[in-house]
């Protein structure tokens, strides 16, 4: 395949990514001349919105096409995940503004790196070829490593970055190994071609293919933080700047889910039985370890890290089904998770002031007395993460459970609901500290306008999607079929 069809149509399809990357470069340069970080952040938001607008235009015009000789694709699936990324960038920027100055790490590069990382994720979900996928993944990962270590003066931030980097590099190696095994068997890295060659060359029972598949799944498992590849997550979540933790727990995770869905469904659809039987134990282990270990945490960032491991286990259930409806339930879950998780982290950031880290559960004691509104928001996020109606978290879980039962895995659902009851305990504990204990001292808030907007948006979305989920459900379903 010679790249001779490098025409305007191709550029059009990657326009959203290009805009985001250009914005990131502009931010880097602006950082040299402008001192006020708010302007840089604001430019970043404008660039993101522009990219989102172009992406929407592409989607609305019904374009679902591959570009660059079948290396890249823009379809409803990619659009859906792009939307998750846009939402998480904008919310992250909003919750970061004040926080980064509180942490005395107000750097212009921060916003540029966020955008680079997001464009990497967008390339990942648009990849129709394993090589492009790898490129996107590395762009995303490298930017995130740096963001994790941004608090240079704090030991645990540097430690987190180093840990994340080493384990990330390790997982990239797994991915490459998996890709090369697949390539060795099929002679192609194109996702579609792999699927047809699997059948044509009768490779479905081939042990080497299975090995390649396992390596690829392991690599994605690292990025998603599935047990037993989750070891990095608690330390990194705890050490990274909280805003980046919020970002990491939704953006890169959603991206890894997206590519996992695409690779498994498009390329390895013929060996669904095999990969489902690999994913089922991963999912069960994630739900179990995430829920149980979270019970013992006293640091709320660490607790949310384990909670996010458990949630990855639930979201994975949708992929295990191997049906389009199942995949759409995972997408739906990730979208809802984006709002509730960023919301929960936003509260933690709000409580972080210059001389008070506010990361221990104890620090939440009696919060409801002095800050009733903030506590009510946190209460909604906690119940949503538990999956209690009428919050969006329930819709997410319900849809996933529904599809996995439809696919015939009733016992898996029973395991899942039992762990979701166990997980209720540690979410409730946060509510308990806020409402049922006496305050220890005055807790100040680091309020700012963007923060309030981000909180209002997340709370409203958690409630609205919980009561009127139909639009999101149709959107998720349509982006797969359309």
């Amino acid at each position: 395949m010679v790249i001779n069809n490098f025409d305007l149509l191709n550029i059009r399809l990657i326009a959203p990514e290009l805009i985001l990357i250009c914005t990131a470069f502009i931010l880097l340069m602006l950082d040299l001349i402008i001192k006020r970080k708010e302007i840089i952040a604001f430019t970043g938001v404008i660039g993101t919105l522009l990219s989102a607008f172009v992406s929407y235009k592409l989607y609305a015009s019904g374009v679902s096409d591959s570009a660059f000789g079948g290396m890249f694709i823009f379809d409803g699936y990619a659009y859906f995940f792009n939307l998750i990324f846009y939402i998480s960038i904008i919310l992250t920027i909003f919750i970061s503004l004040k926080y980064m100055s509180v942490e005395k790490a107000s750097l212009g590069e921060y916003y540029a790196l966020l955008l680079f990382s997001s464009s990497g994720m967008m390339i990942m979900v648009g990849a129709a070829d394993l090589i492009v996928l790898y490129l996107g993944l590395e762009l995303m990962a490298l930017s995130t490593y740096i963001l994790t270590g941004l608090l240079r003066t704090q030991l645990r931030s540097s430690e987190a970055a180093l840990k994340y980097f080493f384990l990330g590099a390790f997982s990239s190696a797994f991915l490459l190994y998996g890709i090369s095994l697949t390539y060795g068997l099929t002679g192609t890295t194109n996702l579609k071609d792999i699927s047809s060659l699997l059948v044509a060359l009768d490779l479905t029972g081939n042990p080497v293919l299975l090995l390649g598949l396992i390596f690829i799944i392991v690599a994605f498992g690292f990025k998603i933080a599935l047990v037993p590849f989750h070891m990095w997550a608690p330390d990194v979540y705890e050490g990274a700047p909280t805003s980046i933790t919020a970002f990491m727990s939704v953006g890169p995770k959603a991206a890894a889910f997206a590519v996992m869905g695409r690779v498994l469904f498009v390329s390895f659809g013929a060996v669904h039985v095999q990969w489902a039987s690999i994913l089922i134990p991963l999912s069960v282990l994630s739900m179990a370890a995430g829920s149980i270990i979270a019970l013992a945490q006293t640091n709320i960032k660490r607790m949310l890290a384990y909670s996010s491991i458990a949630h990855a286990g639930y979201a994975l259930l949708g992929i295990i089904t191997g049906t389009p409806e199942g995949l759409s339930s995972t997408m739906n879950y990730l979208m809802i998770y984006t709002f509730m998780n960023i919301g929960a982290f936003a509260i933690i950031i709000l409580l972080r002031t210059k001389d008070f880290p506010c990361e221990n559960l104890e620090d939440f004691s009696g919060l409801a007395k002095n800050h009733p509104v903030i506590s009510a928001c946190m209460l909604i996020f906690m119940f949503s993460l538990t999956g209690i109606p009428p919050t969006a978290g329930f819709i997410g879980k319900f849809y996933v459970f529904m599809e996995i039962i439809n696919a015939g895995y009733v016992s898996l659902v029973i395991i899942a609901v039992i762990f979701s009851v166990i997980s209720a305990f540690f979410y409730l504990r946060v509510v308990m500290y806020m409402y049922m204990k006496e305050p220890k001292g005055e807790v100040a808030l680091a309020t700012s306008v963007p923060m309030s907007i981000a909180l209002a948006v997340t709370v409203l979305m958690v409630i609205i999607l919980g009561i009127f989920p139909d639009y999101l459900l149709r959107f998720a379903m349509f982006s797969i079929s359309g």
Partner: protein, 514 residues
């Protein structure tokens, strides 16, 4: 559309009734002054009663069909509708809920001093969720209301409760959640079996294979048995009732624990008739254990609230027994007893709350000789004590009598055993009465260390009078409630009996052995 009668009033009466309290809760968000908060909450609950009243006058008692039905498409992707309606069974619970909500706000006028706003918001959200459970005709809607209840109740117990409130709140939450999620799995299985519908009426018309019935019955049983609570799942109840503030105890005992039994009536029995018959014997045994065990444990209690909580376990044993006799007397008695228990136990918790405000102790040993100090209080307490025992002339008698009648025709031994529960009930209640009101006044009061508590005031009398009226009204003329449920109960029983299969034989055989 055979089983429904659309709402013929010119406004959506059920929707307004259900969501009026929620609107009130939103309104309270913007009120600062706590006196205004109290009055707003009270007026909203009273308004809800008045909005619901046309239900009584326009209700057609001659049919089992769902009435005042409203149906709107809600989540078309899943084929889920906003579908509400009531029949002769649910209408009674609606009024029980509305009445007890008013009383629980009234009784909290003095006793709730902290976080007044949050308290009233919780109660109002609670009322919407409870009403929602009784009117829902779509499983999804039902489940949303069912689970939503947990949040305000968790807060009510955990924030305004007694010493061990946090333990009690979390225990309550986790127990109920664990039961409910298993029901959720059952609901999803039904959804696919019914070809993607969660319409309760449509799903009730289907016939399910016996094995599936059994699994689904067990899944639903998990949720309802915890809620009732039936014997081995009852341990959350004494803690939650004891630690909860008076208002929450009243709602818990009055309405919340009725939902489990309501669930059996609305879902388990009509949908899984064969499984019901298959499991009937174990359920009888659990009910009888609950009746006798609950009563015996009452004798050992030192804490006033805990005693009444355990008496609830015993009384709810009667309810489940009655419902599962599957004959008219038993089922009607069971439903009536649920309402009665709501009134009587609700009243007892209210009275304990009232006296606690004065004495600040729940320990029975700190009382004694109160009949001379608070004669009016003692008199009213006597009425409810006798109603709880089931003295003829009070409502408790009618309910228990019907249940035992039903139990005898279902199984003689079970009938005899359950009747002993009434004797035990008389024992612990009268002994309790004796220890509180007779004997001599505690030396703390005679030596003037503590002021002698005052008698009922006007507000408290207003709270108790409607309940006293109901005790005698139902006791002397039960038809006032029974007339509503006749057609619905008959329909239910005839439905169950048409689906008699071979599984009956096993149960019959087991019953003969005993």
């Amino acid at each position: 559309m055979a089983d429904i009668i659309l709402n013929h009033l010119n406004y959506p009466i059920l929707t307004v009734t259900v969501f009026l309290p929620l609107t009130g809760a939103l309104l309270i968000l913007f009120i600062k002054n706590s006196t205004y908060v109290r009055w707003t909450a009270l007026s909203v609950t009273i308004a809800t009663l008045f909005v619901a009243l046309p239900l009584l006058s326009n209700f057609d008692k001659t049919t089992y069909k769902m009435q005042f039905v409203e149906k709107q498409s809600w989540i078309p992707s899943w084929g889920i509708n906003y579908f509400v309606g009531i029949d002769g069974i649910s209408i009674l619970f609606i009024f029980l809920t509305v009445l007890l909500s008013i009383l629980s706000i009234l009784v909290s006028y003095k006793s709730i001093e902290r976080k007044v706003k949050e308290f009233h918001i919780s109660i109002l959200i609670m009322e919407t969720a409870m009403l929602g459970v009784f009117v829902s005709l779509d499983f999804f809607l039902f489940y949303i209301f069912w689970e939503t209840m947990l949040i305000p109740m968790f807060i009510l117990i955990g924030v305004w409760g007694g010493q061990r409130r946090i333990y009690a709140a979390i225990k309550f939450f986790l127990y109920t959640l664990a039961g409910s999620v298993l029901m959720l799995v059952g609901i999803v299985v039904l959804y696919f079996y019914g070809e993607r519908t969660l319409d309760i009426l449509a799903l009730s018309r289907l016939y399910y294979p016996f094995t599936l019935q059994c699994w689904l019955f067990l899944a639903f049983f998990a949720a309802f048995a915890v809620k009732v609570p039936m014997f081995p799942f009852h341990t959350w109840l004494p803690d939650a009732h004891t630690e909860a503030p008076t208002a929450a105890s009243v709602i818990l005992a009055g309405v919340l624990i009725k939902m489990g039994a309501y669930g059996f009536l609305r879902f388990s029995i009509p949908m899984f008739p064969d499984a019901t018959k298959y499991f009937i014997f174990p359920i009888f045994v659990l009910s009888v254990i609950a009746i006798i065990y609950g009563a015996l444990v009452c004798f050992a209690q030192k804490d006033l609230k805990r005693l009444i909580a355990y008496s609830s376990v015993s009384h709810m044993g009667f309810v489940t027994l009655g419902i599962f006799t599957l004959n008219t007397q038993g089922v009607e008695g069971g439903i009536l007893q649920m309402i009665n228990h709501g009134i009587i136990t609700g009243a007892l918790f209210l009275m304990v709350g009232i006296i606690y405000e004065r004495t600040h102790t729940r320990m029975i040993e700190d009382y004694g000789g109160f009949a001379s100090a608070v004669p009016w209080f003692a008199g009213v307490f006597m009425i409810f004590t006798l109603a709880s025992i089931g003295l003829p002339g009070t409502n408790g008698f009618i309910g228990e009598f019907l249940i035992i009648l039903g139990a005898f025709s279902a199984n003689k031994l079970i009938g005899v055993l359950s009747a002993t529960g009434i004797i035990l009930g008389a024992g612990y209640m009268l002994w309790l009465y004796q220890r509180i009101f007779f004997e001599t006044l505690s030396p703390k009061y005679t030596k003037q260390e503590l002021p002698i508590p005052g008698d009922l005031n006007f507000r408290e009398a207003v709270v108790l009078i409607p309940l006293i009226i109901l005790v005698f009204l139902i006791g002397l003329y039960p038809e006032v409630l029974l007339s509503y449920m006749h057609s619905s109960v008959e329909h239910l029983i005839s439905n169950v009996n048409t689906g008699a299969g071979k599984e009956n034989l096993i149960t019959n055989y087991l019953m003969e052995i005993f």
